[in-house]
């Protein structure tokens, strides 16, 4: 992969990382309402996958969806404003962290229901196939979602109907406070095999590998629609949600996470490619300034007006009770 592309992957990952670090701080300050699930350590997956997507490709996501949204192109200020519950939020403050969506760029939403993105994406893929312009649909889900029945239903339908769905499993080894081995007795590879769906496993903390594998699956899908599964082994650095002390995890495991930091890995590749230290400093400064501005604007924005509550329940408002 050429250096410019890798620089872009690095840029995107750092943007997501810094954005989530900002959220982490805002949460600690009590500025973030509700639940906050951070994807720190998992940035390479959405960044690698999105590097292979077109604007009209669709993605759906789950509760840990900040990276998925930003990588697909959701604006930083409406993103922060949403998570802070502000009127200028991308969802006008009605959804929050678990519901960030931008339908104008095919981001069909984070989701509070584990597994719910699977059928939504399968349906989106069906629509895209019927529209016949070579677009595809991506669903990001965790290892925990593999236990939900809709996973099976959707693998079957996608295979049966040759739908252009990329199933991206972010396997971080945990479902909330339970390790995967206490949740699942099957391997995703063998499940995909049972449905005859092509499967690739990748180091989910290596953005270049993720991008390459994603492109190997996606390119043929555009010509000749069919599903694919990309299993990304990755690392949940923070707790299940902010406030989770992770006392159920071995300290060694947590300590070792740094070793697998996707951003560090990417930086090493860039350094090897001859990118000077100055570039990294400038990049960091640029991103920090960008995020600063967005956070400041989001914090300054007003809360939504309570007259908004019953708005948009129906599209044709005159029908609302």
């Amino acid at each position: 992969m050429d250096r410019k592309k890798i620089e872009e992957l690095y840029h995107q990952m750092l943007l997501i990382r810094r954005a989530e670090e900002a959220l982490q701080k805002l949460f600690a300050d009590g500025a973030v309402p509700g639940f906050l699930h951070l994807s720190i350590g998992q940035e390479a997956v959405p960044v690698g996958v999105s590097s292979q997507l077109l604007e009209r490709d669709t993605v759906s996501s789950n509760h840990r969806g900040h990276g998925h949204a930003l990588a697909k192109g959701v604006g930083l200020e409406p993103f922060f404003a949403e998570i802070l519950g502000k009127a200028t939020g991308i969802c006008r403050g009605r959804g929050g962290s678990m519901h960030v969506a931008d339908l104008s760029i095919g981001m069909l939403g984070a989701n509070g229901i584990v597994g719910a993105g699977l059928p939504i994406t399968t349906g989106s893929a069906l629509a895209l196939k019927m529209q016949g312009e070579g677009h595809i649909a991506v669903v990001y889900f965790g290892d925990g979602a593999l236990a939900e029945g809709v996973f099976h239903e959707c693998m079957n339908m996608a295979a049966l109907w040759s739908l252009p769905v990329l199933f991206v499993c972010e396997n971080n080894g945990w479902s909330e406070f339970s390790p995967t081995e206490r949740q699942l007795s099957a391997s995703l590879e063998r499940l995909a095999g049972a449905f005859g769906v092509s499967y690739l496993a990748v180091d989910g903390n290596d953005a270049i590998d993720v991008a390459d594998s994603a492109s190997r699956l996606i390119k043929p899908m555009r010509e000749n629609p069919r599903p694919g599964v990309l299993e990304c082994s990755t690392t949940r650095v923070r707790g299940h949600f902010e406030g989770d002390k992770q006392d159920y995890r071995e300290s060694e495991e947590v300590a070792a996470l740094g070793e697998r930091d996707p951003i560090r890995k990417c930086r090493q590749a860039l350094v090897a490619a001859g990118v000077p230290a100055r570039w990294f400093e400038e990049k960091a400064a640029e991103i920090d300034a960008f995020i600063d501005g967005a956070v400041r604007a989001a914090l300054a924005a007003p809360e939504p007006s309570i007259n908004e509550i019953t708005r948009d329940v129906y599209t044709n408002a005159e029908l609302a009770p």
């Binding site: 104008s104 939504i120 629509a127 649909a137 809709v150």
Partner: protein, 319 residues
């Protein structure tokens, strides 16, 4: 009525290429009740899709397709099976527009048959429409005749929001000509199918004909009942019902669903609030008893509401 539903599907698909149908045995077999007959031949397997037995995915596929520019019409073979689709309908379809700040809509329809009369037993006869009426973001429709089945289904398919379109099985066999160019109706509007000054009977689906029969019986004791066909259960036409009550001062609500916590409860509750000063007698509801729909002929016959139950309800309200 099934011929009207079938024609509405044919016409909607012919008019709008983004409309497609999906469900179990709806294509080659034309559907368990033949509502989708002929669609496969006319529109092909891409737009008329036989699905595996996966109600959650069928419904979710409709949600995702609706969010991606299509107008899916999914069939859930019996309303009892919609229990497998609830997350997709309630947490996803119903909420997407509001939860995403009005960014988009979810123009999908789920057609599903409810009600008894086939001795199909406790898991093939339920009327669960009250559940969906409780969920902001969903619309709920239930036709009573071939003519309004056509008009309401066309309106449901054209509607930008998710619509649960409930078809009473016992009405499928009802014949009735359709005008050559039948009109789409407006969702949210009820219909006075019989005028009367003494009591208002609100009904929907199969109980509309029962209410009309009851009105004829009541006429013999000089009671003139006004019969309202609700047509849309959510949002329902409170204005029309209240207006009728202000003329009749008594109201009875009839549906095939279990009476307790059913659709009639909301109508009664609203009339006991905004219509309180107009009421001259108790609000009476007529519905199925608090039990699963039983199998045996004798039991199902007794279980389902009848015109006589409505007559008795009116008499009690006027007593």
């Amino acid at each position: 009525m099934v011929h009207a539903i079938n024609k509405a599907l044919h016409d909607a698909m012919a008019e709008d290429a983004s409309v497609f149908v999906i469900g179990e045995d709806i294509a080659a077999a034309g559907g368990s009740f033949k509502a989708t007959r002929g669609l496969l031949e006319k529109f092909g397997p891409t737009r008329v899709r036989d699905a595996p037995i996966s109600e959650a995915a069928i419904t979710g596929v409709a949600v995702g397709a609706a969010l991606t520019g299509m107008r899916p019409v999914a069939e859930i073979m019996f309303m009892d099976f919609i229990t497998l689709s609830m997350d997709m309908l309630v947490n996803q379809a119903a909420k997407a527009r509001s939860m995403f700040g009005g960014q988009g809509s979810v123009p999908m329809v789920v057609r599903t048959p409810h009600g008894g009369g086939l001795n199909a037993g406790p898991q093939h006869s339920q009327c669960l429409e009250a559940w969906f009426a409780h969920i902001p973001g969903l619309k709920v429709v239930c036709p009573s005749t071939p003519a309004n089945a056509y008009g309401l289904l066309r309106a449901a398919i054209a509607d930008p929001d998710p619509v649960i379109f409930v078809e009473n099985k016992a009405l499928y066999a009802v014949k009735g000509d359709l005008p050559d160019t039948p009109a789409a109706l407006k969702l949210g509007e009820a219909n006075i199918v019989r005028q009367g000054r003494d009591v208002t009977i609100v009904a929907y689906g199969a109980t509309v004909a029962m209410a009309l029969a009851a009105a004829e019986t009541l006429k013999q004791d000089g009671v003139e009942a006004e019969v309202i066909d609700l047509q849309t259960i959510q949002p329902w036409d409170e204005t029309l019902v209240l207006d009728s009550l202000t003329r009749t001062h008594n109201i009875v609500i009839a549906h095939e669903a279990v009476e307790q916590f059913g659709v009639g409860a909301e109508i009664a509750a609203r009339m006991a609030d905004v219509g309180f000063d107009e009421l001259d007698g108790p609000i009476v509801r007529v519905g199925a008893p608090f039990a699963p729909s039983p199998f045996a002929k004798s039991l199902e016959r007794a279980y389902r509401p009848k015109a006589d139950d409505i007559v008795a309800g009116v008499r009690r309200s006027l007593a």
